[in-house]
Amino acid sequence: MIGRLAAAILLACLGATGAWAQGASAPGTVVRTENVAVELIPAAAEVAPGDTVEVLLQQTIRPKWHTYWQNPGDSGQETAIQWTLPPGASAGPIQWAAPERIEYGPLVNYGYSDKVGLLSELTVPADWPVGKPFPVEAFVTWLVCEEICIPEEGSFALQIPTGPATVADSSVAALLAQARRALPQPSPWTARYAVDDARLSIVFDVPGLRADKLTGVYFFPTAWGVVDHAAPQRLAIDEAGLRLTVRRGETPVDASLGGVLTMVEDTGTGPTRLAFAVAAAPGATMPAAIQSSLALPPLSLPTVLLFAFLGGVLLNLMPCVFPVLAIKALGVVRGAGTPARERLIGGLAYLAGVLGAFALLGAVLLTLQAGGAAVGWGFQLQQPIVVTLFAYVLFAVGLNLAGVFEIGGGWTGMGQSLAGRHGPVGSFFTGVLAAVVAAPCTAPFMATALGFAFTQPPVIAMSALLALGGGLAAPYLLLTWAPPVARLLPKPGPWLATFKQALAFPMFASAAWLIWVLAQQTGPDSVLAALLGGIALAAAAWLFARSGRIARSLALVSLLAALWLAISVRPADRPALAIASEGAESFTEARFDALRQRGEPVLINLTAAWCVTCKVNERVALSGQAFYDALRQRGITYLVGDWTREDPDVTAMLRRFDRAGVPLYVLFYPDDRPPMVLPQLLTETIVVDALNSISPAKGDPT
């Protein structure tokens, strides 16, 4: 303790006097260069012979400079320690803190900034005389770089007192705890990998993650050169799990691929960085090559806009949009005699309709995003009700094409335009319709460009959406504007009616696809409701085509029934929890209130299947014997709330603690003390200490 204080004073003095000539004095516990202050710190105030003692090599690095991980990446060199210990003693390898990716022009290094603690375990021989200080010498080399690189070294010497039992040094406990937290945790998931000449792909068996909650997903291989360190790592998150694919490096891959997987999760109160130690076995499949060639982030703005525009053009070929374009094109055929100016106005009105719809959608998206919701393109298909309504729109357009009904003159002009007439208002609403029917198709299609655009400032996101709309409107605009192109279309004739009816089938197919999407999100009951609603919609269309007031009224009733059925679709009630949490009850507000009214202590854990932080906490801190023992001894009821799908009770509780998302851990006391909110990242000690702040329940045998 005194020695440490002296070292700290020495360090401060040296800092004040500037550069210090290394090796000028006998080795101590601190070496300070212009770029790094390095300190060797034992975790124990006293160590017992036969025990191991952790020793921390703490590097405080000059701002913007870096030291390096065990695999330093494209250049650089890892820190190394040569121990000199008494006979019979041994030293373990450095336990490396999770590294960060350091870009240097076209190169990428793996290392550390600001400060890092590197832990090693020393074993004191069992026959070491108790009371005789245990001498430790270390010769440490490290490379430190900013613009230039400087190899540095230092000699360290310290004596650890020995005693009958190992006693932790409380004055360094915080520093040690910090270093341990920076270590990668054992991976909770199995990992497999695949390699070919060009790529390495690693798959983590972790289903149900949400891509919109994770950033900075990166795999640091322990061995140098198994991947191209500077190449982007392409992330895919789907039902199978989490996959990273990256260009191969120059070193062959060992049978077991070791490394560290890092990610930053948005947990509602801020980003949480997670790091896992990985040992992957062979046996994964390689994704199709086409996917890796799309691994281009970050994209430049012109690229994003080009991408979006091309995507919009190609959208016209999608089964949900193509019929709308085809009908518009046939309108041009029929109206061959229309003056060019009028035709062009129609085209521009169509463009305005498309852009207007996309702008509105973009405004909604960006507003939600500004409100803190992690939305991106495709969010519109996350809500089962919206999926159902899209299916209805496509189905209704199909019924219209099939000739089941025609919308009369009074109604918005949508029907008119579908029938091929050319008022600018009609064209405008056809444009809106084209954007609406395109919306479900766009999600899988434009994921790359729009996914990136929505991580950028709103101006870029909106520009990308409008470029997409421009692309969608472009082919029709070209038809109306360039008569030579229009002349390429076939001559009108009786085939037109047949063709129009045939176009109904792609619309029906698109609607069927959306019902399939719905089936993924909900259960059989909701699918049945959606299908019955579709029948009600068809009935409404059929009745609408009859003449007479009664038929029209029944049509309206039928339509309302369809909408009511659409609103009734619900996400499936799945089993509340997939995690192992014996002794846990499902969180409901009713159960919670009942317990609290009786003044019973309650621990709540609000979690979700897609929340990595939650799963890690549950595995590390909320499933051990010490945790269950503490719960039992203190008579604490453990309530687990699952937010995998929106749950109003859980949302209300999150809001009560000003949280936008999971995880949330709160301990409610049996007395008047205010509830204790536990940290986002738990250890078993944190949890058990918190639980033990409640006195044991009466009558408990322990």
Partner: protein, 208 residues
């Protein structure tokens, strides 16, 4: 759904063709493939073209005279000894400087010649590559970073100077010098036993 997928795949193919140049960083050249061709200027103002050395073995050495890892091998005369041996064996040794103007290791021609003379270095030429084109074509990442090109223009070796990735000259005697071994193997008509190794050292100070 299938229809969807095939259109997506086709569109993705079109995009990736259009985006071919968007990949970050070029892939490293492969051993056994033709070495990337280059033409440049040497420190003494000559033009140099890799093709002009067809028929001779060529060694490329990325260097930065202020880099501690380069100083390790020049300070111990290790690099100069290799250069001298190479010259005696009729091998063309080209030192390449890819440091950008204003960054560590950048030298104008006369200064580069002076540094080489001070070191007693004996390369056949010092190639000046301030825009980094040659370095990026070879994916040179560190100084030193070593390459060997066979008389028929094939890349035979890429990687480090030796297997002791440190800045300490004391490690040189006990290290396996990959370049020396590879040159001996090539001279004996044998395949290179370690054709691709870890290059270690300072990062190349490219313009970016």
């Amino acid at each position: 759904m299938m229809h969807h997928r095939s259109i997506i795949a086709a569109a993705a193919a079109i995009f990736s063709l259009a985006m071919g140049t968007g990949q970050a960083g070029a892939a490293a050249p492969e051993v056994g493939e033709p070495a990337p061709s280059f033409a440049g200027t040497t420190a003494d103002g000559q033009t140099v073209d890799l093709a002009q050395y067809r028929g001779k073995t060529v060694v490329l050495e990325w260097t930065n005279h202020d880099c501690p890892y380069v100083r390790k091998h020049y300070g111990a005369k290790n690099m100069q000894a290799l250069q001298k041996q190479a010259a005696d064996d009729g091998i063309v040794w080209l030192s390449v400087i890819s440091s950008a103007p204003g960054r560590q290791g950048y030298l104008e021609g006369p200064d580069a010649l002076k540094v080489a003379a001070d070191h007693g270095a004996a390369p056949a030429g010092i190639v000046l590559d301030p825009d980094g084109k040659i370095g990026k074509a070879y994916a040179a990442r560190t100084t030193p970073h070593m390459y060997i090109v066979t008389p028929d223009g094939t890349l035979a070796y890429k990687g480090g100077i030796d297997d002791k990735a440190t800045a300490n000259p004391a490690d040189i005697p006990g290290a396996t010098n990959y370049v020396k071994v590879a040159l001996a193997e090539l001279a004996g008509g044998k395949p290179v036993s370690n054709p691709s190794t870890r290059a270690y050292g300072c990062s190349v100070k490219y313009a970016w």
